[in-house]
């Protein structure tokens, strides 16, 4: 095909967008609407991931030491911890610190614990942070046999529940995302189909004066892509601004949030942007391609 032909294609598709402006605007709004819904869910999904990964970060392993641990054993233990690849950091917790923390955590037993101060029965401990939640159980096994270690506590049921919840949340949000992607695809494809349908007479005229299928298709595909991308860019802008606005609203209301932080937009938006623009482009182009098919039978 000549370069001129492509010039014609672009000229025609811009003209058609202008001439059928009502339908063009409607298509863009459809893409926009469908993607904004998808965007809301994506942001929610990213935030769930963010929150669970923050919760994972807070997981720790408490290695309680034997009451009569020797200095040597203590040194060996520290060396082992230093060398272990799964361990991110660790701190030492003395008896007093332990009691302090316990009475802070257990408000309701504060009074009772006060009596223990003189003869503190709590053991010393190493508090270990791991690189990943998955490493915790392994680490538990490998550390518990070491000399000087009394027992290890890592909130077994809590870690298990968290990992399960994590999996569950991931599966659920994937399912919802797939469903929503499907639905929004449906909405956009539908809109394109009606707009193409409204122009079926034009298509048949083109065929009757000798235009090949590709000659007719290409401007439609270009038009579909342009409208799709336009809609997706608008959707990205809407999502972005709404998210910043929401974060602004919530900032300072930390009481509400119970210590939960939101995923930073800088990390969320680029992914959504790329995803949306590719989506808008592909759905617009492929949607046009399929919608036009049946009207080319002249």
């Amino acid at each position: 095909m000549k370069i001129n032909t492509f010039k014609y294609f672009f000229r025609d598709c811009f003209r058609s967008i202008k001439k059928n402006s009502l339908m063009s605007i409607a298509s863009v709004i459809s893409v926009l609407s469908a993607l904004v819904i998808l965007g809301i869910f994506l942001v929610i999904t990213f935030n769930i991931q963010h929150i669970t990964s923050e919760m994972e970060d807070q997981l720790e392993l408490k290695v309680f030491l034997e009451k009569d641990i020797s200095v040597e054993e203590m040194g060996d233990l520290e060396n082992t911890l230093d060398a272990h690849k799964d361990i991110e950091s660790y701190t030492f917790q003395s008896k007093d610190e332990a009691l302090n923390i316990m009475s802070n955590q257990l408000e309701q037993y504060e009074n009772i614990l006060k009596g223990l101060e003189e003869d503190n029965p709590l053991p010393e401990a190493f508090i270990i942070k791991t690189h990943s939640a998955g490493a915790i159980t392994e680490l538990n096994d490998s550390l518990s046999d070491l000399d000087g270690v009394d027992y290890i506590n890592y909130g077994e049921s809590y870690v298990g529940a968290l990992i399960k919840f994590n999996e569950f949340a991931n599966i659920m949000s994937m399912v919802v995302l797939v469903i929503l992607t499907g639905i929004s695809l449906f909405i956009i494809y539908n809109t394109i189909k009606i707009t193409v349908f409204a122009r079926r007479k034009e298509i048949s005229i083109m065929k009757l004066v000798g235009a090949t299928n590709w000659y007719i298709r290409v401007p439609f595909i270009i038009e579909g892509s342009i409208l799709g991308v336009l809609g997706s860019i608008l959707a990205v802008l809407v999502i972005r601004n709404a998210y910043y606005y929401l974060l602004g609203l919530i900032q300072g209301q930390s009481v509400l949030m119970m210590g939960i932080t939101f995923a930073p937009p800088e990390s969320v938006m680029p992914e959504i942007m790329v995803y949306f623009i590719v989506y808008g482009l592909v759905v617009g182009a492929v949607g046009s391609l399929f919608s036009i098919r049946k009207f080319l039978d002249v």
């Binding site: 059928n20 005229i205 009757l208 235009a211 000659y215």
Partner: protein, 228 residues
């Protein structure tokens, strides 16, 4: 050049035969009128040659090619060699007059320079230079018809099919258009024209094929359906 053998056409769902048992042979360079009552099958005949419709039975040869056997993707290339004026014009409503005509050239990848020269010429021939940048729905009936004629002749087709090309034109303009078609025919292009205009048929004294109820009832040189 055009040969129909035992062509019948029934539209789906309707039992009724729009064309029945048509045998025609039209040679290269001929000028043929198709006349007949409303509903006689003239447009159906035109649509068969254009491959807008398929015959129910029979064979249609155009330029030594059995067009009922053309492959789907070769149809556009077949149509490009024809020039067609449709009874209902069929202009592209989102293109101007100029662009409607240029479009027929663009699809055959004519160079821009040639397009820029040919289109204004064609518009001048049909007397519409002053309407080049109007859209079809801003034109009168006759003006739309003339745009359709200009589009049909722009690519120098070897066969021109005109369905009622003067139905919306005043006698003077009609005669102008007929002279145009005569000139084109004189250069060797075959012309098939369906018309009701008795005056024009009588004036031109060309071959006249008369249809009635889907059958050929007369085929001779001379005036409009001589039996009347």
């Amino acid at each position: 050049m055009i040969k129909l053998n035992g062509v019948c056409k029934t539209y789906d769902k309707t039992e009724h035969l729009a064309l029945s048992d048509i045998d025609i042979c039209i040679s290269k360079g001929e000028f043929v009128f198709i006349v007949g009552k409303s509903g006689a099958g003239k447009s159906t005949f035109m649509k068969l040659i254009l491959k807008e419709l398929e015959p129910s039975t029979g064979e249609i040869h155009v330029d030594d090619q059995d067009i009922t056997k053309i492959k789907r993707r070769h149809i556009p290339f077949y149509r490009r060699k024809l020039g067609i004026v449709f009874q209902d014009f069929r202009l592209l409503s989102d293109k101007t007059v100029y662009e409607n005509i240029a479009f027929a050239m663009e699809i055959v990848e004519t160079s821009t320079a040639v397009i820029k020269e040919s289109v204004p010429n064609a518009l001048k021939l049909v007397g519409l230079s002053h309407r080049a940048h109007y859209f079809p729905d801003q034109l009168s009936g006759g003006e739309q018809q003339r745009v359709a004629i200009a589009r049909a002749i722009i690519n120098n087709p070897y066969l021109i099919i005109c369905d009622e090309p003067t139905g919306n034109l005043d006698p003077k303009t009609s005669i102008g258009i007929m002279n145009l078609l005569k000139d084109i025919n004189a250069k060797g292009t075959t012309v098939i024209m369906a018309t009701h205009d008795k005056d024009i048929v009588d004036l031109m004294q060309m071959r006249v094929i008369a249809l009635h109820g889907g059958k050929i009832v007369s085929d001779k040189k001379g005036g409009y359906h001589s039996e009347d």
